[in-house]
């Protein structure tokens, strides 16, 4: 009988030996209680790991994982992006289906995830504010628009979400990673707040940014993504130079409706000449 090597003991546990050698080790272990004990402990360890993690196999797949697994599926047919699909179908310019349907910029995806996180943090910081949720309130919307547009270097008109039950409260300017970021705050009848975070730092992040620019129109690269930060759902996307993130402690369906509406209004605003 050859001695049992450490590697063989593990291969025995894992059933990775030839049947012949497996039988030999099995017989040899009868004479070696210490090693038999170890083999038994490792086998139980494997079973315990399976018992702990196998339930994950049966979990329903989260939407974001499902979408990442099926980038070429007709995602726009799925319910949660129905609002956006309607916006697309109604002739929003600059939304190349090529860029939308093929989500092939993982580097930028990671970068936008950081952007979404900043949006979520900004939401978490300002949305509980009772007295000063915004710097400029909705009563002075014209001033707000002028101010933010000037600082952001592009027209910043807050979408109106009354139809969805969210009233504009106002907005503020925030420091982003490299420059200013705009945050618009909304509030529903129950006092729940929703924020729209607009950053113009996002353009350089996507490799397609330069290549996809067509005739002065917005870039084609974009992907709708969901992130969850604690209780907060964040729905974010990139369009042209801008990254948009909508954050709220609301369910995905409600947020999706808002996102569709925001997108629709932004697309129509972009078609107007700048003020």
């Amino acid at each position: 009988m050859n001695p049992i090597t450490e590697a063989e003991l593990h291969a025995f546990v894992d059933g990775q030996l030839t049947p012949e050698r497996h039988r030999e080790i099995e017989a040899a272990l009868a004479q070696r209680p210490d090693e038999a004990l170890r083999a038994q402990a490792y086998r139980e360890q494997k079973q315990a790991l399976r018992a702990l993690f196998d339930p994950v196999l049966d979990e329903p797949l989260p939407q974001r994982v499902l979408l990442a697994a099926r980038p070429r599926a007709p995602w726009y047919a799925q319910r949660w992006v129905a609002g956006v699909a309607i916006a697309l179908a109604s002739g929003a310019s600059g939304w190349g289906l090529h860029g939308v349907s093929q989500r092939v910029w993982p580097g930028a995806a990671l970068a936008t995830a950081g952007f979404a996180q900043r949006a979520a943090v900004a939401h978490a910081v300002y949305s509980p504010e009772q007295r000063r949720p915004v710097e400029v309130d909705a009563a002075h919307e014209d001033q707000l628009v002028t101010w933010l547009s000037k600082r952001m270097g592009a027209p910043m008109k807050p979408p109106h979400l009354q139809a969805l039950g969210y009233a504009l409260e106002g907005g503020r300017l925030l420091p982003g990673g490299q420059g200013p970021v705009a945050q618009f705050m909304y509030r529903d009848a129950g006092g729940q707040r929703l924020t729209l975070y607009v950053s113009n730092e996002i353009g350089d992040l996507s490799p397609a940014a330069s290549g996809a620019r067509r005739g002065g129109e917005v870039n084609a690269e974009t992907a709708f993504r969901f992130a969850r930060e604690g209780r907060l759902n964040v729905f974010y996307w990139v369009e042209g130079r801008f990254g948009y993130a909508i954050s709220a402690d609301a369910d995905k369906a409600a947020l999706t409706d808002v996102a569709g509406e925001v997108y629709r209004q932004l697309a129509s605003t972009a078609a107007e000449p700048p003020r």
């Binding site: 291969a11 894992d14 790991l49 702990l52 993690f53 994950v56 930060e229 604690g230």
Partner: protein, 168 residues
């Protein structure tokens, strides 16, 4: 849906199981799965040449995880109630004996943890583990051995190799 889509989708539950064990909580695990799938799509031109889809996907996940550990994102800890608690430091009266398996697993060095998990959860052949992680098979065996023994010691409540003596 093309066969390729389905092929990728069919691996998702197993990628999630492994990621959960690796990352220790649901959100980080699904971030890892999402990034892995996106990377896989970005490289989908290579699929035709991939003989072992599982090894290839788990290899992508390994690389992303190692990168992520090396250069962590801004930490966001999910605070909702349905998130399983991550390892908490054992308090003095309880010692290591109360470490649950997840907590013990999180105390393993990543290089050992990955191998212990691939073998336990995936029943992966040692040669495939070596290929997936890009290391020699001898290294796989020695890390497997150290990882399992350490996990056993942690679960048994035995202290790590070096015990501190109380000096009076």
């Amino acid at each position: 849906m093309t066969p390729d889509d389905q092929q990728l989708l069919s691996w998702v539950p197993r990628l999630r199981r492994y990621a959960r064990a690796l990352a220790g909580n649901r959100d980080d695990a699904d971030d890892l799965v999402q990034d892995t799938l996106e990377r896989a799509w970005a490289k989908s031109a290579l699929w035709r040449g991939v003989a072992d889809m599982r090894g290839w996907l788990f290899g992508i996940m390994h690389n992303l995880h190692v990168d992520g550990v090396r250069r962590p994102r801004i930490a966001t800890q999910t605070m909702d109630d349905d998130t399983p608690e991550v390892a908490t430091a054992p308090t003095q009266g309880e010692r290591l004996a109360v470490l649950d398996l997840q907590a013990a697993l999180d105390l393993l060095p990543l290089e050992q943890k990955e191998i212990v998990l691939l073998v336990a959860l995936e029943d992966m052949a040692y040669a495939d583990v070596a290929k997936t992680l890009g290391i020699p098979i001898g290294t796989v065996m020695s890390r497997l051995s150290r990882g399992r023994e350490r996990l056993r010691a942690l679960m048994d409540g035995r202290a790590e190799p070096v015990r501190l003596k109380v000096v009076k």
